[in-house]
């Protein structure tokens, strides 16, 4: 059965897409992320990341805690470029 449940709302990725990739042999979080863009949206995988890890764990028989998650990258909350520029110019004065 196709599972068209969207598991990553930011990047529009379905559970089925993730399961298909795992079946094809893409069993690391980073590979699945890079092909589907899962976890690359504005929420930075806060919603979908755990779901992907759970799928990998159940397909490969690993413990979920042993699977490597993505690097948390700055900035953690979205900052407007203009504000950063302003701050930068102020620091120069």
């Amino acid at each position: 059965m196709e599972d068209n449940t969207i598991i990553c709302r930011c990047s529009d990725v379905t559970l089925q897409q993730v399961r298909d990739l795992i079946k094809e042999g893409y069993v690391t979080y980073d590979e699945i992320k890079r092909i589907t863009r899962i976890g690359m949206g504005p929420c930075q995988g806060k919603t979908c990341g755990q779901l992907v890890l759970r799928e990998i764990a159940s397909a490969t028989g690993q413990n979920i805690a042993d699977i490597k998650f993505q690097t948390t990258r700055p900035p953690v909350v979205g900052v407007k470029l203009g504000l950063i520029a302003e701050e930068g110019r102020r620091n120069e004065e």
């Binding site: 979205g78 520029a85 930068g88």
Partner: protein, 382 residues
């Protein structure tokens, strides 16, 4: 993992995957690719993914043009079941000094001699392409509609899958720790998962190329340098081409998903293998964008990351074999533009290994040029 191979390729970025595919397509059996991490985990998976024909040396123009023509048909040629998402919306190169405009004119002459449809634009014409471009501090622009960008993960995946179908063995999380030589030739490769005997090794490790060459005592004049990049929240389509400036030090494009991707170089980067992100980059990037493309500065940054350029003294790659040890080949030193050269890298390396007549004569990109001083300096890089 096999314990012997006809060819061992080290590194599974665009260069390693393309070389593996081309060798397999030419009928080489028993090819093994070794990757210390996962496929596309190196610079290829971190790059801006832009491809352009607008170069300053004839060599770079030729390699880029042929590679882009390959990318136009990559899905069909590689029989890819996903899409490499190639969008040809052009590169708009902008200049803020008269000197750079003079350089554009020289470059365009070279480009036209290679059949590249680039042209010089007035500031008005540039604003027709990107209406919100602030031209106050600019002198002029150049444009080529054939330039563009594609998805680097899927492009590498397309080569990887095609190579795999042709029988290439890929071993991920397998790190090369040594190269064994006997009587002046390669006889095998040591890895953290065991030894593979082989007479041919290809060094496609980009940032780590020097470490691999050290293993056979070959000294190459390359160094690695961090380059940073960021992505914003996605918005409605508003910018077609990549906007790039060598003088102002920036490139910025809107991805098909709607987010803006932008980066710049930093002359003060230390020469090492660090890939952490810095606030300094964010600030410099933000100030440049605010000045040149004001509406984009209203967007929020969602992520920044970094990757490594592998730099050569003339900012052009090295395609060659070692002269001290037989059976050791290298395709490295792209100086920040190895993704767009990927298709040709694979073709010329496979031809070199098999002793075939080259599709493009890249013999000028040999190692010896650094000794003789016969360099071909590329003037147009960020």
């Amino acid at each position: 993992m096999k314990n012997s191979a006809e060819v061992v390729i080290i590194g599974a970025g665009i260069s390693g995957c393309s070389t593996a595919y081309n060798l397999a397509k030419k009928g080489v059996k028993n090819i093994v690719v070794l990757e210390k991490n996962y496929i596309c985990s190196g610079s290829t998976g971190r790059c801006g993914a832009g491809v352009r024909m607008q170069w300053g040396t004839e060599m770079n123009c030729k390699i880029a043009k042929e590679s882009i023509e390959f990318y136009e048909h990559a899905n069909e040629i590689l029989e890819y079941d996903r899409d490499v998402d190639f969008k040809q919306k052009g590169y708009l190169l902008i200049a803020d000094t008269d000197k750079e405009i003079e350089q554009f004119k020289k470059n365009i002459e070279v480009q036209h001699s290679c059949g590249i449809p680039s042209k010089l634009l007035s500031l008005e014409e540039a604003r027709e392409i990107v209406p919100y471009l602030n031209t106050d501090m600019l002198k002029g622009a150049a444009f080529c509609e054939k330039d563009g960008f594609l998805n680097p993960f899927k492009t590498t995946d397309a080569f990887y899958k095609a190579a795999k179908r042709l029988g290439v063995e890929f071993n991920t999380f397998t790190e090369v720790t040594g190269i064994k030589t006997e009587n002046g030739r390669v006889v095998g490769v040591d890895t953290n998962k065991g030894f593979i005997s082989t007479n041919i090794v290809v060094n496609a490790t980009n940032a780590y190329s020097k470490n691999i060459c050290d293993m056979i005592g070959l000294d190459i004049p390359v160094y690695s340098e961090r380059h940073q990049i960021l992505v914003t929240e996605p918005v409605e389509p508003m910018q077609d081409p990549m906007v790039m400036s060598f003088g102002l030090n920036l490139y910025v494009q809107q991805s098909p998903e709607g987010s803006f991707i932008m980066g710049r170089g930093d002359a003060n980067e230390p020469r090492d293998l660090r890939i952490t992100s810095s606030w300094h980059f964010l600030e410099e990037m933000a100030k440049t964008i605010d000045a040149i493309l004001p509406p984009i500065s209203k967007l929020r940054v969602v992520r920044q990351w970094a990757g490594l350029y592998n730099m050569t003294p003339d900012k052009q790659p090295i395609y060659d074999k070692a002269d001290n040890i037989e059976g050791f080949y290298l395709c490295v030193g792209y100086s920040g533009h190895g993704f767009m050269f990927g298709p040709i890298t694979g073709i010329v390396m496979s031809e070199m290994i098999l002793g075939e007549k080259p599709t493009i004569d890249v013999s000028m990109l040999n190692l010896n040029r650094f000794k003789t001083g016969n360099l071909l300096l590329e003037p147009s890089v960020v």
